[in-house]
Amino acid sequence: MTILTLSGLTKRYGAQTALDGVDLTLAAGERVALLGHNGAGKSTLMKLVLGLIPVDAGKVSVAGHAPGSSVARALTAYLPENAAFHPALTGREQIRHYLRLRGDDPAKADGLLERVGLGDAGRRRIGTYSKGMRQRIGLAQALIGAPRLMILDEPTSGLDPVSRREFYSLLDELSAAGTAILLSSHALSEVEARTDRIAILSDGRLVAEGSLPELRIRAALPLTVHLRPRDGQADQLASAFPEASMANGVLSFSCPATDKLAVMGRISGLAPQIDDFEVLPPSLDDIYSHISRRAA
């Protein structure tokens, strides 16, 4: 079932076009990562989906409802980038307030705080929290009332690697329960395998969309091969691989992904001369910068 539909979504600020005809759909339980540089239009897209700013052209539909309508707001949870709260309130008071705003039982606050690892800190004022703790309060409020759609703006910024992993397992639980999740990030390496699909924005346009393997194939970036020759075999090996260059005693060259097996064959033919070898696929950040550069 489709939870979020964007069709031809366009937003202009004066002469500048922040979003230009973006089409995107999210089905229930789907996790989609929205990638892009600063100013690529990620936050604008999210604000349009939340109904915080009006659409200039195109359409947003949240389970068939207009963005910002009371039904759409009841279905949607939002975690802003750098989640902020009033410093004079305690985490517990803040979550109890948010529960009441959603018409939920404020007694659930303790359970929510426990779930994001803030069980003990809930009675302290938010003014004393670290950035990561504020982000967790933000996450706790986004978990209220099993939302159908979650909009997470750079949710893992400010989280350490362990918390980031915990965060993604929370998202796994939510998506298994049918919540559609749209999250944004600067870097592909941050979202890696934890999302079903990746959408890349560049200058307000959607330049690529698909699963990580699909994007990898589409980018068609070369593999990098490293060969470490056995003692005294360096010159011979270098002549067998004329395309390679030598640095720090290691021969390196790149080859198209389609030539991978042929290269492996050449390597196994020269096994006596080789001490060790590595075949590296393009890194996630390589793929991402390739796609966004190609678009520009």
Binding site: I53, A74, R100
Partner: protein, 275 residues
């Protein structure tokens, strides 16, 4: 809907308590009314009216400055502060209407004003009874009237503070606008009217337009209504001398309509705020 408004009011009141706004407002009102009632009680013996009524007349002149000031101080941050802290976008994605958010804030801040006014004026009543015995309580109706009209006056300037807050978008700008509004509405407005009367020298402006202009300003309406009703006009001075020439319903109507009008203006300005 009421649950969301009440929850907002509750959380805003907690914030006001912790930001010391409640303590500051209450202390300010209590201190000034203590000074006024002690200093103002000395000459009243000869006037033939009770001490409390005279104190109410002095309190009226004080409140007309102090209540709008307190109201603007606690309200100017309401929207601009949330926008600057970055809490506004999240708030507006909740199933909470903009009107509900604004009304919740207004309720909490109105409770702060009411508390300050109530405790402040109570000091005056205690001082009066202490000095002159229970017969001083004859002035109690005037004091009660002063209390509820002060709350109405507070409501007007709380909503005007919200209006400034929505228009300025930033707390520093909103603070400047609030102080400017206070100066214009409370100080310069009366001076302007005085100047116009002097220039007009008893002409059509003084007899026809001036009374309406006086009543149109909520602060002047507050002053006129309380002074005329308390029968202590003799203790008042300046423009308030005009109080006995204006029918009572006019300032009362102004005091009742202004809170609604100001709240509607603030609501309209909030609609234009894009987080």
């Amino acid at each position: 809907m009421f649950g969301r408004i009440l929850s907002t009011a509750r959380i805003e009141f907690a914030i006001a308590v912790r930001n010391r706004w409640v303590a500051i407002s209450v202390a300010m009102m209590m201190m000034f009314s203590l000074v006024l009632s002690v200093a103002g009680s000395a000459p009243s013996g000869d006037l033939g009216i009770d001490r409390l009524s005279v104190t109410v007349a002095s309190l009226t002149s004080l409140s007309v400055y102090l209540v709008p000031l307190i109201a603007l101080l606690i309200s100017f941050d309401a929207i601009a502060g949330e926008a600057e802290r970055g809490t506004l976008p999240l708030h507006l994605t909740y199933p909470l209407g903009r009107g509900e958010l604004l009304f919740g804030k207004l309720l909490a801040q109105l409770a702060v004003v009411a508390l300050a006014v109530l405790l402040g004026y109570a000091v005056a009543a205690v001082v009066a009874v202490w000095g002159g015995g229970l017969q001083e309580l004859a002035g109690l109706p005037a004091l009660v009237r002063l209390i509820w009209t002060s709350v109405l006056l507070g409501a007007v300037f709380l909503s005007l503070g919200h209006l400034m807050s929505c228009m300025a978008r930033r707390p520093s700008g909103a603070a400047g606008m609030a102080i400017g509004l206070w100066l214009v509405a409370i100080v310069l407005y009366d001076l302007g009217l005085l100047a116009a009367i002097v220039a007009d020298d008893g002409g059509a402006f003084t007899t026809r337009i001036f009374p309406w202009l006086l009543v149109a300003n909520p602060a002047d309406a507050f002053r006129i209504f309380n002074l005329a009703a308390s029968g202590a006009v003799g203790a008042a001075s300046g423009l308030s001398g005009a109080a006995n020439t204006i029918a009572q319903w006019k300032p009362l109507l102004s005091l009742v309509l202004w809170p609604v009008l100001a709240a509607l203006l603030a609501r309209a300005a909030f609609q234009r705020v894009q987080p």
